[in-house]
């Protein structure tokens, strides 16, 4: 027995209830989305991405108004001027102000990327959701169709569509670009949603809900949707850079927006043409902007994925010592 204690009779009285605090929770509980945001804020890379995106978005809105030159305004006396006090980003072959053109291009690239991703998202959620909730037979047919569509190399379709529609005299309109990109782009999202729905449909809490008489719609709204939201959001964030990349590549191949409208891809394409004569800045600026856009969306998507997966993360932390 320990002899470092001065034993008293009172010490050996039965412990009163107030002394017990087994139900007290040691760690504070935080609401799900607040917790996600807290964890996202801790991720420096993701926050850098978010800040960069906000800056670029603001610049894409107001940037065209700052320099005082319109994006289509030509000044043939001042062609291929290197960046200086008057023309911050220089001018192009036709003497147009690259500052205005760059930010307008950023705007179009952002719009095309986000719209394409949203449309992919809409079609994908609808198609995948229906397939997941439908009977196995319908599901199997729907997934076969999606499989065929997805194994069509999408860039070829994009190129073909752009060729066809730009020939029709409409120029490659934004609509065609988005259509071309979404025609096969929705399949991964559909697969993701279907997989999630199937998994959750079989989950114990859905079964529990069904067993007490909840309707399919109720289960979909109350159980499946909240739980699929996370992965879908992450996928959406990571689809945007893919769309921006596709648009830029198309523009670079000469299939971008009809001039004089710029996108970052077409600006880079114009820049490539003057690169051999030593004018590197014309390709440098759009190239860097595209890279920053893609970087920002990528790190934000990664950060969101980590932040949205507290179960996984916490589980892993705990498992590390529980299981060893």
């Amino acid at each position: 027995m320990r002899n470092d204690i001065a034993y008293t009779k009172e010490m050996f009285e039965k412990a009163p209830q107030e002394l017990r605090d087994s139900e007290k929770i040691k760690r504070p509980s935080i609401k799900y989305w607040a917790d996600v945001w807290r964890r996202l804020k801790q991720n420096k890379l993701a926050m850098t991405g978010l800040v960069l995106l906000i800056i670029l978005t603001i610049m894409s809105i107001i940037g065209t108004q700052i320099s005082g030159y319109k994006y289509y305004e030509q000044n043939l006396k001042k062609i291929n001027v290197k960046p200086n006090k008057e023309y911050w980003f220089g001018t192009d072959e036709l003497g147009r102000d690259l500052f205005s053109r760059t930010w307008l291009g950023t705007r179009y690239s952002l719009i095309i990327g986000i719209l394409a991703a949203l449309i992919d998202f809409g079609i994908g959620v609808l198609y995948g959701g229906i397939a997941g909730m439908a009977s196995p037979k319908v599901d199997s047919i729907m997934m076969r169709i999606a499989e065929v569509i997805y194994s069509i190399p999408y860039m070829l379709v994009v190129v073909l569509l752009s060729v066809v529609f730009s020939e029709a005299g409409a120029g490659t309109s934004m609509f065609v670009l988005i259509l071309a990109m979404t025609i096969t782009g929705w399949v991964p999202m559909a697969n993701l949603v279907r997989g999630q729905v199937l998994q959750l449909k079989e989950s114990e809490y859905s079964l529990a809900s069904e067993s007490i008489g909840a309707s399919k719609g109720w289960i979909l709204r109350k159980h499946i949707m909240p739980n699929t939201l996370g992965p879908i959001l992450v996928n959406l964030t990571l689809t945007i850079p893919v769309a921006i990349f596709s648009e830029a590549t198309l523009g670079f191949l000469g299939l971008g927006l009809q001039p004089p409208k710029p996108s970052l891809g077409t600006l880079a394409n114009d820049g490539l043409a003057v690169m051999p004569i030593g004018l590197f800045y014309q390709i440098l600026i759009p190239a860097v902007l595209i890279s920053i856009l893609m970087f920002s969306f990528n790190v934000l998507g990664d950060g969101l994925r980590d932040a949205l997966d507290p179960r996984l993360r916490k589980q892993k932390e705990v498992e590390k010592w529980r299981s060893c």
Binding site: K9, F12, E13, W321
Partner: protein, 334 residues
Amino acid sequence: MEKLLEVKDLAVSFQTFFGEVEAVRGVSFHVNKKETVALVGESGCGKSVTASSIMQLLPMPPAFYKSGQILFEGEDIIKKSEKEMQQIRGSQISMIFQDPMTSLNPTMKIGKQIVEGLVKNKKLSPSEAEKKAIDMLNLVSVPQPEKRIKQYPHEFSGGMRQRVMIAIAMVSNPKLLIADEPTTALDVTVQAQILDLMKEIQNQFDTSIILITHDLGVVADMSDRVIVMYAGQLMEEGTVYEIFKNPKHPYTRKLLGSVPRLDMDRSESLHSIEGTPPDLYAPPKGCPFFDRCDEAMVICKEYMPEREYHTDTHYSCCWLNHPMAKSVAEGSVV
């Protein structure tokens, strides 16, 4: 009796995202040669961490030793280098794990997995290795071993995989086998077979076994001595007979009360242990079982009791052992 393994005042913590987890807090015990010692407790009580420490398989970081020694045949394992440990793992001490479904490499043939450790240490030729693998599968009673060594884990049932795990563990004839919940993930009928197999092999090879489990049925069947662990600390230790016939710690009594017995009266009901073990992010100062103990006293909250030996082999850590506890209790009756 000769001591094979002696753990002295072992404390292991994990540095996690949320802070330090004190998984094992000052644990001391020993294992004799040819003996089976059961380490019993709820999940998360630190018994698996203790086992992994003996194998030096804890991921470091986040894990780190706060204090203690692990003496295997008189030498401190904690001080050994990774290279030296590789000589001990598999050949001196080996381990089988809880879930045979995930404990085998899905992309490696069974035969190769069995002899992998041996081939490296003893420089076996391919044909010798194959023969050894077949011998081992024969030993653990896996039918058609010649065919089976060329198969992958997914072609085996759960029980068969656990037999393979035992074959892997026993291939170098180790002195100590650590079995971490070896039957928990198996069907009840298969459980008995695996336990029989382990006993058989122990007799054949004179291996000592540390059996980690929360299943007291398995304990009674297999072990010589029992160690009861709770919240990273040892609560009671004794021979199987002492623990089952004369449990001293309220936690041990509760554990036993939650297991059905054949000699139970019909009117007797099984008891669950209410509440949950304490959070080891902030372990309590006193007895960790305080919150869930029916017999808890004021002193239990503040002070951790020391070991009180009831026989040479039986001790418990509980303030109820203190003479004053009895007198106060009797006094209150009067």
